[in-house]
């Protein structure tokens, strides 16, 4: 009997994952849940308070209680707004804390005169608020918030049990009050867990498919790269090599030409090394716009090549936004400006030479390709040995004094375009792309002055300083 090969375990979704974080566009669609739930919570609180006026002893406390629950509902609506995404843990805690405060105030307002626990508006309101967290927060967090809220609600019910109008064991009141919180909270957590797992599973499969598709194009891409390079070299360098080799002789003109070609090739290679994914993306959009019969002028200002520090999600989100902007109706093809600047050091990809020791103002020594090896005298050799020993000691000291440490640098990306599309249509067209930007960047700001639309967002990157 053969045993089936076990299927590899899928990677688990991170504990902090929520539907909004993993699938920002889906989170966008879930947003109407918040105002609907808030409206139900507030309406029920007001109706329940009015219908139980005969039980209320301190009307001020009852009013404050309803007011606090209204604030909780308002915070929920505010926190779930797509333009303020992501929905943070603090926001969830504030909402639940306000709900609990409303519950305690309501219990105090009917102290010793509460007829029935099941009529209290706060536990149900709290449960509904927890239900509304489902698309925005991770399931474990909802579970913890639900569990702690249920505990508080249960204890409050037990404390009130001697004064209630129904003659049943006190623990029954606690169970009823806790169920009103726990049932929606567990439902909310179950939804969050299931949807996050489904999205994560899809993302894992999709990324695998993307990798496979990319690998398939490795051969053609490598050929393309080689062809491109050889075309650049083919015109001058290769015939020159072949010519020299054929003649088996090197003339002064050949040496001069070799020097000049070395300079040219190196300059071309340096220019190409400076290209980033953003340059490529904009170049492609430029071609697309030209094909549409437009005369594009797209400007990139990224002198430190900070775009190279973006991860693949950030590149995809920013790239999709730029493509979406270029295909907007009424887009002015001469208006696109993408600028990246930042507070921290440039990404290490750029050549950074550490001036570890000595005078900063020392004059540079010219070094060219034609530098010949100097004749080293005995005295120079001795001096150089000393300098070498000193350099090594300094280098080791430097590396010890600068241990690895994590630091957070922030790059700010600014995208500006001019479009004649009316603001509401523009907002509608860009909303899904903005929701994705908010999931992978921080502090996404959108401002618009007449036809000029400005997007600004921050990319945080952790750099390891020290041996780098």
């Amino acid at each position: 009997m053969t045993r089936a090969t076990p299927t590899p375990r899928r990677p688990r979704a991170p504990a902090s994952a929520s539907q909004q974080r993993l699938d920002p566009i889906g989170g966008l669609a879930a947003w109407p849940l918040a105002p609907v739930v808030s409206a139900i919570v507030v309406t029920y609180a007001v109706a329940a308070t009015i219908s139980r006026m005969h039980e209320i002893q301190l009307i001020e406390l009852a009013v404050v209680s309803v007011g606090v629950l209204m604030i909780a509902a308002a915070v929920l609506v505010w926190a779930a707004r797509p333009d303020l995404a992501p929905f943070t843990r603090i926001r969830a805690i504030v909402i639940v804390a306000l709900g609990l405060a409303a519950h305690l105030l309501a219990a105090a307002s009917t102290w010793q005169f509460n007829g029935m626990i099941q009529d209290d508006f706060a536990p149900i309101g709290l449960g509904l608020l927890l239900l509304a967290l489902a698309p925005f927060r991770p399931w474990k967090e909802i579970l913890v918030l639900g569990g702690s809220s249920a505990t508080v609600v249960g204890i409050t019910a037990l404390v009130q049990s001697p004064f209630l109008g129904v003659q049943t064991p006190p623990v029954l009141f606690a169970i009823i009050a806790m169920t009103q919180v726990l049932a929606p909270a567990l439902a909310s957590a179950a939804y969050s867990r299931q949807v996050v797992n489904s999205i994560h599973r899809w993302q894992t499969d999709a990324r695998r498919a993307i990798r496979a598709r990319t690998e398939e194009s490795r051969g053609p891409l490598a050929h393309e790269v080689v062809d491109h390079r050889l075309t650049n070299l083919g015109a001058d360098v290769l015939p020159f090599f072949a010519d020299v080799l054929g003649r088996q002789e090197l003339t002064a003109a050949d040496i001069k030409r070799a020097r000049s070609l070395a300079f040219q090739v190196r300059r071309v290679l340096v220019a190409e090394v400076d290209h980033t994914w953003l340059d490529d993306l904009i170049a492609r959009e430029r071609i697309g716009l030209t094909d549409r019969g437009l005369d594009p002028l797209c400007v990139i200002a990224d002198p430190d090549r900070r775009a190279t520090a973006f991860d693949s999600d950030q590149r995809a989100a920013a790239g999709a936004m730029i493509v979406a902007l270029c295909t907007l109706k009424g887009f002015d093809p001469t208006s696109l400006v993408v600028q990246i600047d930042g507070s921290g050091a440039a990404p290490t990809d750029t050549a950074q030479v550490t001036q570890a020791f000595g005078l900063r103002g020392a004059l540079p020594t010219p070094a060219t390709d034609t530098t010949t090896i100097a004749i080293v005298t005995a005295a120079q050799e001795q001096a150089s040995a000393q300098a070498r020993t000193q350099a090594r000691a300094q280098a080791q000291l430097h590396s010890q004094m600068q241990p690895r440490r994590d630091d957070r640098d922030v790059d700010t990306i600014t995208i500006q375009v001019v479009t004649s599309l009316p603001p509401h249509q523009r907002r509608r067209a860009l909303r899904p792309y903005l929701s994705v930007l908010r999931a992978v960047f921080t502090r996404v700001r959108v401002t618009s002055r007449q036809a000029l639309l400005t997007l600004k967002f921050n990319a945080e990157r952790t750099t390891i300083k020290g041996i780098k």
């Binding site: 439902a187 939804y191 490795r218 990809d349 070094a367 530098t371 040995a385």
Partner: protein, 417 residues
Amino acid sequence: MSLGLPGHLVQLTLARALARAAHWFALTCLMAAVVSVAILSLHSPELWVTVGVIVAMGALLVLFTRHRRIAFAVAYLVVGTLGVYVFTTTVLGVPDAFPASNMFLVAMPKMALVMVGGAGITAIGGVLWSTAAFILAEASAFLAILTTTVPYRPDLFTLSTYLVLVGAMVLAGIDRRASNAAQPAIHRAVQDGANRQLRDALDTRAIALLNDTTVAQLVALSLAEPGALSPGLTASLKYTLTTLHDTNWLTDIDARTTTALQPTDTQKSPSDAWLSSAVYTAIERSRDRGLVVEVTGDRDALARLDAESDRDVGLAVQHCLVNVILHAGVASAEVAVESDLSTISLLITDAGRGFTESESASDRLGIRQSVRRRIEQLGGSVLIWSRPGAGTNVRLTVPAAPIQPQDRPNRVKRPAA
């Protein structure tokens, strides 16, 4: 993460998540009902029968959640309707306990029954299941209440639960219609990004190889004396031309790397590993060009590098040594190999004229491409210390296979060749 669910998966995913939520809501209600009647039955033993009914409902719900078969849903609906009847009759039949029929306790099995609506794969299906369950539960409870002395009051708990569930299902069914165009665009952007990354990696390697072959060859020609070509120059010109004319040079490197990645190097003895390492070859090449290279430190540690790392570290060291020959103005350099548990460092030191960042700006391709990018692609790091007149130190650090217990550091000082 930016790869959201594509349109065709949205409805199914949300329906499943809603079903899961509904089932947990129902299970919580059933558990609370069981615990409550168990407590009540301590004083009224006739209530024990309700415990059995609710447990049966719970068991069917669990079966349905696990297997999602229509038969279990129907069974849950039938048993649930009977259960609601028995539960309502028995609980409200407890004398002098409940003032009216609209007790939350009585509503618990009804709310659990309504949650069968999560079974629907589509929004309409879910709404139909929930509606059926709601009607059956309310009818069953109404008939049960008629058999008791407790006055009938409408049960708003079950009604509002039903409305909230139906609302959620409808919302899930109609969502995202406006955002359907953006999701494929994001997906395309991710695919484009992956392609671009691969192209960049190939380009990086191509530029490094061109820098090592073509530019180095041109520089060698520019430094040579006029006259007949030396045998060394002839050989290197032939090698360069052969390499470049073979249009598969980029993929050949891949193929060589892939085959070389087999862990054959772990079989080698340490000294063999040093002699066959690319670093040794690079040093030998520089010695052939007249540079005096002193090697110190734990040379045998290079055996811990895999084939790809060995090749790239060798090329980076070669580039550093060529820089010494071309720019430093000295005839000697030192290569020190250091290792720890997880990394190997090579310190290439010369006491030459050094350089500054500004002067190297126009000439930085070699350091950037042939040294820094190569090492960084291996997951390593490069640190350069230099100052005009005080020499240059380049430290290359790359990750290596963890040290084995038999790998004793074998510090050998090799005299200048």
